[in-house]
């Protein structure tokens, strides 16, 4: 199993150091995660980064592990960002905490070899799309493009972790997959485009697969996203795409 590729691009008009998504993968163990730091919060990139790095070290893909998994990360975030004197507004903002949408995926060889089991956990509007035998098998956690745009639930760096446990907020989903399947994990702007295309009876994964298999994939990805933004087909937002080839 391998994570075939990670692509990312900051919002148009901002620099790479203002990019606030994060992505991590441990293909050997089958752990993958993306997070989308909320730009209205402060130190969101650090928070997004902590979430994905910890997930690929020790994934919390079951609801009951969530609280004990999240609490030490919240402390780490505070230790990282709260240890120096800050102006009044930065201090107030720090008290509000950072927020991020989060999506983690675990793929494991099950008893039914060569089929495998996958399990995903999500808070917010970063999405996973599972493609098998040329068909879209799962879209998770959102299933329609109309669901984007409302305020998504996010993981807060200072919110009580227990508050995330509702089934509506912390979503968990699993299924089977087989060699040759692909998982596309993406943050909201790209995910919204993907679902809109799918709703129009198109196959949005083909656009991705084209540059994935072509030369200089990173540049092709950046050009493709810029083009979608210019045409008004995609909101100008940080974009992250993680493609997992089973």
């Amino acid at each position: 199993m391998k994570a075939s590729a990670v692509f990312w691009l900051p919002k148009a008009g901002t620099s790479a150091d203002e990019y606030e998504d994060a992505c991590a993968a441990d293909p050997d163990r089958g752990y993958f995660a993306i997070a989308d730091g909320a730009s209205e919060s402060s130190f969101a990139r650090q928070w997004a980064e902590l979430l994905v790095q910890q997930f690929v070290r020790a994934p919390a893909h079951r609801r009951r592990r969530w609280v004990s998994w999240l609490r030490p990360l919240q402390q780490q975030w505070l230790d990282q960002v709260g240890s120096r004197p800050l102006p009044w507004y930065a201090e107030m903002k720090l008290k509000q905490g950072a927020f991020a949408a989060f999506l983690g995926l675990v793929i494991r060889t099950g008893l039914c070899f060569p089929r495998m089991l996958w399990r995903a956990v999500a808070v917010g509007d970063s999405c996973l799309f599972h493609l098998g035998s040329g068909n879209l098998r799962t879209t998770f956690p959102l299933t329609r493009s109309a669901e984007f745009g409302t305020s998504p639930w996010l993981v807060g760096s200072r919110s009580p972790p227990e508050h995330m446990l509702d089934r509506e907020k912390l979503r968990v989903r699993g299924g089977c997959c087989k060699p040759g399947d692909r998982f596309y994990l993406m943050t909201d702007a790209l995910a919204c485009w993907f679902l809109r295309e799918y709703e129009a009876d198109r196959k949005p994964w083909e656009a991705i697969d084209r540059f994935l298999d072509g030369p200089d994939a990173e540049k092709a990805f950046a050009d493709w996203i810029s083009d979608l933004r210019d045409k008004g087909q995609m909101r100008n937002d940080d974009v992250t795409l993680l493609v997992v080839q089973v």
Binding site: T14, S39, E40, S42, F43, V81, Y89, A90, M92, K93
Partner: protein
């Protein structure tokens, strides 16, 4: 589609507050409230500026998504920031954040997490002082606002249109404000016309009317005129108003009549909600 421009550092928008500082603002809000109108409005504006700053705070700095101005009208008409910003009309929000007139310590009561209440000291930056003296030269204030905004628009033609929030407790004493209001609303960026929202503050207990879609229920010509002066709420503002459980329609205007202190705060909140356009 208008009112969809991104608000970014390259492409900021502005909020301009016009604050009635006439003598009657020294009276209390409504019959049962002990708080003077001028004090309540100053607190609400200072608190709102703080909220806007927090929306722009990133890490250790501030992103200049907004330019902010406060114009007072009473015995004088002009910029109303105090301290280092005195005399300035529109100021980038980073500069506002770093130059309050003073930072007060205020206390508030919060839950202690164990079933009790505890007093907590919070920082309360102040940029704008209450004032109540003289008449109500609203026409002069609107005319000054038009000049300030025309200048802003000439610098930022692609910006999300500036938003003007006018808070008053009485009738203008320097003529008919309607032509000046029209002149403001006729200003436009490539993304749409300038938005003018009006709020009328009451000294009596009277029926509160928030974001009406017609002038049918308004008691007099002065109220109907403020209604006509107010912009129709664009879709994104309507969405915010609906989220806050206001009964609004496509024709609802940025207008509140007979406001008490809570509805002043709600008006300022709905009228400045452009978060979804921030980049």
């Amino acid at each position: 589609m208008p009112y969809s421009a991104e608000i970014s550092r390259r492409n900021p928008t502005c909020f301009l507050f016009l604050i009635d500082q006439s003598g009657s603002m020294d009276d209390p809000f409504g019959a049962e409230s002990g708080k003077k109108k001028c004090d309540g409005v100053a607190d609400a504006i200072n608190r709102l500026i703080q909220t806007l700053i927090l929306r722009c705070a990133k890490g250790e700095g501030i992103r200049d998504y907004f330019h902010i101005g406060v114009i007072g009208y009473g015995d004088q008409v002009g910029p109303a920031f105090g301290g280092p910003l005195a005399g300035r009309t529109l100021v980038p929000i980073g500069e506002v954040a770093n130059n309050p007139l003073r930072v007060e310590d205020r206390t508030r009561t919060v839950e202690d997490g164990a079933g009790g209440l505890v007093e907590e000291t919070i920082k309360f930056p102040v940029w704008f002082e209450p004032r109540a003296d003289g008449h109500t030269p609203m026409v002069a204030a609107l005319t000054l606002a038009e000049r300030i905004l025309a200048d802003f628009i000439s610098q930022f033609r692609a910006s999300f249109p500036p938003i003007v929030l006018n808070l008053t407790d009485g009738e203008p004493t320097d003529g008919d404000p309607e032509p000046a209001a029209v002149a403001i609303r006729d200003l436009a960026t490539n993304d749409g016309n300038v938005l003018l929202f009006n709020l009328h503050i009451s000294s009596q207990r009277a029926a509160l009317i928030q974001f009406p879609d017609s002038d049918a229920g308004l008691p007099d010509e002065s109220a109907r005129r403020l209604f006509r002066m107010s912009s129709i709420l664009p879709a994104s503002f309507l969405a915010v108003a609906r989220e806050k459980k206001f009964n609004v329609t496509e024709a609802s205007r940025g207008f509140v009549f007979n406001a008490d202190l809570i509805s002043v705060i709600q008006f300022l909140d709905v009228g400045t909600r452009v978060d979804r356009n921030l980049r």
